[in-house]
Every structure is written in structure tokens, then in C-alpha cells.
């Protein structure tokens, strides 16, 4: 009991966002289930999942825009509740589903609205605008902005309050490759400034190299949470055996579900010990083994594996 309490305390110090058993049900349809998120402070946290897996719903619960059916949300060690929500939200910048802004107003006027509402000073607004490099376009009406400019304005609106946490829902949606690259650079820069950035995407490639920690959602459940390396080590890549007699090797290794693939044999799901046994079995059977290697696995493959092939 005691050590549990201590562990929880430590957790809340190093994690900017924690959820316990977070869940949301619409009608009798569970949308998000038993979510235990741990978003470490000062990192970019990539929140991945196929369309409809519940990313936006989860982010809205973090911001208390949607009431959880079960569970708790803790932000910077404080429990999100009706009574705390206003002050907690003051420390979170967010962009949910689509970049907000009034099209009939200029970028400057839009910034001014948030500045007035939150009582920010001119310096805070200017820094936010410069961070997203929008200072040249502030006098243009937002309806004349490109999508990329709208996204950047949305982030500037979120950044102006100088938040400790930034929650961005698919900020790369609809951007061209250059825009996506620029967004990546921006996210890395913000994390370097000590801001915890939680960013969602249904495209792994968009945040794969930017995020230090990944959370993968499938059908409302957290399928994986951890570093890229942990993600790789979790799933066992196929073993490929190069041999001059692939036919005989396939027969011999039938109980490992081996399949022939040209001049090699593919064996799925064998760990290191099993690989050793497999190779020795083949050698004893007189198969000339030229090489044993593991299939290079892309993060995409792992992601597809975890989400049951629905992603990407």
C-alpha cells in the first residue's frame, strides 16, 4: 500500500498527463476503454490510431470538453474536475479536430481575442506568432489563409498563453510534405523549450521520428505505450533462413510454420531460443544453412500488427 502511494506520487511529478482507467461510452457503444495514459513531461508524445479509434474523444476528455464515463484525468499532478478545470485549462494549449479562427477577422484580430480573454501581454502574443512564423500574414483575413497558415495560427492561438502542455489533434492533417516537415520541426522545438506536446495522428510516418514516446490506440484501447525501441522489441520480426535447399528446410521446419520464399525460408514468431533450436534442427537434418537473419521491420508493420491491419 505504502509503496503504491509513493509510486503514484513519483508518477505525478514526472508525468504531465496521467489517466486512470479512462473510458467513454456513447449510448451503449464504448468509444474509449480503460485508458491508462502516461505522458512524460517535456517530450513529444505521439498518439496514434486509425480513424475512429477514439483519439479525438480521448483528447477532449483530457481537456474536459467531454465528460468521461469512467476514470480520472490528472494534469500536472492535479485532478481535472469541474472546480479545477478552469485553472488547469489555463496551462494547456490545444487544437482539437480543426484549427479555430474567425474567417472574417485578420490573424491579428484573432490573436487579440485570445489575448483579451486570457489577459495576456503583447510580448506573449508576439512570441507565439513568431514561433509559428506567421508575423508576415497577421493583417490578412483568415478566410484568405492557406490551410497551413490556419494550422499555424491555431497553434499560435494555443501557444500565446505559454502553456506547459500542448494538445494537438492531427495538426498535420491536409498539409503538404513541406508543411508536415515544418510542423515536425516546430513540435521538436517546442519540446526543447520544455513544453509537453501530445500530438495525434492516424499516419504513423507523420510523427514517427518526432515523438519520443508513442501511444497506440485501437478500437478505443491502448495497444501500446512506450518508446519506439520498446515498440520494436515487443513484436518478433520473422526469421529468414538462406539455404541451398529451401524445399527440404521448409519440410523440416514445418512445426515452426515455415514457408518457402524463393531461396530462403521464412519463419514467423520465433524468439532467440527458438531460433537456436530451429537452426540446430536444420543443421542436424543436413540442411546447408548459409545465413540466418531477422526481417527488417518498419514501424508501419508493427503499427499494422498492433491495430490489426486497420491503420495507415
Amino acid at each position: 500500500m505504502n509503496s503504491f502511494g509513493r509510486a503514484q506520487h513519483n508518477e505525478s511529478v514526472s508525468n504531465a498527463i496521467i489517466t486512470h482507467d479512462l473510458g467513454k461510452t456513447y449510448g451503449d457503444r464504448p468509444i474509449v476503454r480503460n485508458l491508462d495514459l502516461r505522458v512524460p513531461e517535456g517530450c513529444v508524445y505521439g498518439f496514434l490510431g486509425p480513424n475512429g479509434s477514439g483519439k479525438s474523444t480521448t483528447m477532449k476528455m483530457l481537456l474536459s470538453l467531454v465528460r468521461p464515463t469512467s476514470g480520472e484525468v490528472h494534469i500536472m499532478g492535479r485532478r481535472m474536475q469541474r472546480s479545477t478545470r478552469r485553472s488547469i485549462l489555463g496551462g494547456i494549449g490545444s487544437l482539437i479536430e480543426a484549427p479555430p479562427a474567425y474567417g472574417h477577422l485578420t490573424g491579428h484580430e484573432n490573436m487579440r481575442l485570445v489575448q483579451r480573454l486570457l489577459g495576456l501581454d503583447q510580448g506573449q502574443v508576439q512570441r507565439a506568432v513568431r514561433t509559428v512564423r506567421l508575423q508576415e500574414h497577421l493583417d490578412k483575413r483568415v478566410r484568405d489563409y492557406s490551410l497551413g497558415m490556419k494550422q499555424r495560427l491555431g497553434i499560435a492561438l494555443a501557444l500565446a498563453r505559454e502553456p506547459r502542455i500542448l494538445i494537438l489533434d492531427e495538426p498535420t492533417n491536409g498539409l503538404d510534405p513541406a508543411g508536415i516537415e515544418e510542423m515536425r520541426r516546430l513540435l521538436r522545438y517546442l519540446a526543447e523549450q520544455g513544453i509537453t506536446v501530445m500530438v495525434s495522428s492516424h499516419l504513423l510516418g507523420e510523427i514517427d521520428r518526432t515523438a519520443q514516446v508513442l501511444g497506440i490506440l485501437g478500437n478505443g484501447r491502448l495497444l501500446f505505450q512506450g518508446s519506439r525501441e520498446q515498440l520494436f522489441s515487443r513484436s518478433t520480426p520473422d526469421v529468414l533462413i538462406d539455404t541451398a535447399e529451401p524445399e527440404r528446410a521448409t519440410t523440416l521446419a514445418a512445426r515452426w510454420s515455415a514457408v518457402r520464399e524463393g531461396h530462403s525460408v521464412r519463419v514467423p514468431g520465433v524468439d532467440q531460443a527458438a531460433t537456436a533450436r530451429l537452426v540446430s534442427h536444420l543443421v542436424q537434418g543436413g540442411v546447408p544453412v548459409h545465413g540466418v537473419r531477422r526481417q527488417e521491420q518498419s514501424l508501419e508493420d508493427v503499427f499494422m500488427d498492433l491495430t490489426g491491419g486497420r491503420g495507415l
Binding site: G90, E97, P100, A101, Y102, E109, R112, V114, L117
Partner: protein, 252 residues
């Protein structure tokens, strides 16, 4: 928080042609009322107390207000709210501490002040023009103020209703359609017996508030049921607060 949010609403009215719309509301009502000046013999009897020129003018005003106001109030409410749907403003405000219901209340305060001001201006301008054409009879202050106050209440209740509809139904054609329907209900209300106009809130209350009646060339002062209008105001306020509270609790 409220002061800042209200100030923001005025910033957001830029380029939405709010000023011209409010101006049309004022000028439209005043111009229609001034048709009274062209009635045969009106300008000859501006100093005859028995001809009751102010009461004629009040009758003109009571005809013009329900013709012009309902549709313009619908348009004004829709303009204020549509930008929140288009620009994802509900969320933007919510994460800055202004919940959707709160935002509606702020819109009521800011635009409602303009609506009340415009209604007051209509009434005052008609008096000024009456004096300008030479009416020297004493202004019947009671009925005049009573009617002005009553239509401010009815206008605000109708505006609040349109705010709620515009916020609840993102397709603004629905609210505007309701506005057009309201014009017909208003017109129907003026031809109805008083008790049945009571059953058509808020539009029927333009008729309920009517302070004078004209028949066979004469004009008679009525004793409008101000209590009914007051009740409309109170019920309207309670419903508006209740529904916006509900908006506050609703999820996005």
C-alpha cells in the same frame, strides 16, 4: 471575464455589416411610421388635441415595428452565432474559459444592448420627427414609454430565441426560416383577438403590446396588458438562462 468577453463580441462584429443592419432596423421602422404623415388632413391637425396626432403616430409605429423587427432580429442573431460554427469558435472559447452557454449569454449582452438601443432610437426618432412636422399637442408620455418598453422586451425575447436556435442548429437557414415564419405569425397576431395573440409567444406579443386602436377614422387609446409583456420577459429570461446552462453542460 464577462467584460472581456463582451468586448470580444464587439471586435467580432467587425465586417459582419452589423451597423448597416441595425441602421436598417431603425430607419425602416421610422420611415414606415412616417407614412402616417401622409394621411389626409394629418399635417393640418398637428395642433388639435382632439385629432390626437401622437396617437396616430403611435399607431403607425405599432404597425411598423412588427413588420420590420422579426426578420432583422433573426438575421442579427444568425450573424453573431454562425461565425462560431464556421470558425470552431465554440471550442476556442471553451478552452479559454468561456463555455458555449456563457458565450450565448455574452452575445445576448452585447448584441442585445444594440437591439435595445435601436428600439429606443426608433421611438425617440419618431417623437423627434413628430415635433419637426409641428405636432404641438402634449406627448402622451405614459402610453409612449409603455409601448417603447414593451417592444424592447419583446424584441429582446425574440432575439434571445433566435440566438438559441442559431446556436443549436448549425444550418442558419433554419433560424432564418423561423424568422420569416415569425413575420407571418406576427401579422396574424395583429388581426387576432387579444387572448389568442397571447398564445403565440414571442411574436404574438407585438400585438399584445399594441397601445392604440384605429377604427372608422378615429383612434382610441387601449390599455395594453403590460403584465403579460412582463411575464413574457420573465419567462423568456428563465428559459434563456436554462437553455444556455444546458449548453454549458453539453459536450462538444
Amino acid at each position: 471575464m464577462n467584460g472581456r468577453a463582451v468586448a470580444n463580441e464587439f471586435t467580432k462584429m467587425r465586417r459582419l455589416r452589423v451597423a448597416p443592419l441595425v441602421l436598417i432596423m431603425v430607419v425602416g421602422v421610422v420611415a414606415l411610421t412616417c407614412v402616417t404623415f401622409t394621411a389626409p388632413g394629418f399635417l393640418d391637425s398637428v395642433d388639435d388635441p382632439d385629432a390626437r396626432p401622437w396617437h396616430w403616430l403611435l399607431a403607425g409605429l405599432a404597425l411598423a415595428v412588427p413588420l420590420v423587427s422579426p426578420i432583422l432580429l433573426a438575421v442579427l442573431a444568425s450573424r453573431q452565432v454562425d461565425m462560431e460554427h464556421q470558425g470552431h469558435g465554440w471550442l476556442l472559447n471553451q478552452v479559454s474559459g468561456v463555455t458555449p452557454g456563457h458565450l450565448c449569454r455574452v452575445k445576448f449582452l452585447s448584441m442585445g444592448a444594440l437591439v435595445a438601443g435601436a428600439t429606443l432610437a426608433q421611438s425617440a426618432l419618431v417623437v423627434a420627427l413628430g415635433r419637426a412636422v409641428g405636432i404641438s399637442v402634449d406627448l402622451p408620455l405614459g402610453p409612449w414609454l409603455g409601448y417603447t418598453t414593451a417592444i424592447i422586451v419583446v424584441n429582446l425575447v425574440l432575439f434571445a430565441l433566435h440566438l438559441l436556435v442559431a446556436a443549436r442548429v448549425p444550418n442558419q437557414l433554419v433560424g432564418l426560416g423561423l424568422g420569416v415564419l415569425g413575420v407571418f405569425v406576427t401579422l396574424a397576431g395583429t388581426g387576432m383577438p387579444l387572448w389568442s395573440a397571447h398564445l403565440l409567444p414571442p411574436w404574438g406579443y407585438y400585438a399584445v403590446a399594441t397601445p392604440v386602436d384605429t377604427d372608422a377614422g378615429g383612434v382610441v387609446a387601449l390599455d395594453p396588458p403590460y403584465l403579460s409583456v412582463l411575464s413574457l420577459g420573465i419567462v423568456g429570461a428563465l428559459v434563456f438562462l436554462g437553455v444556455t446552462r444546458m449548453f454549458d453542460r453539453q459536450e462538444t
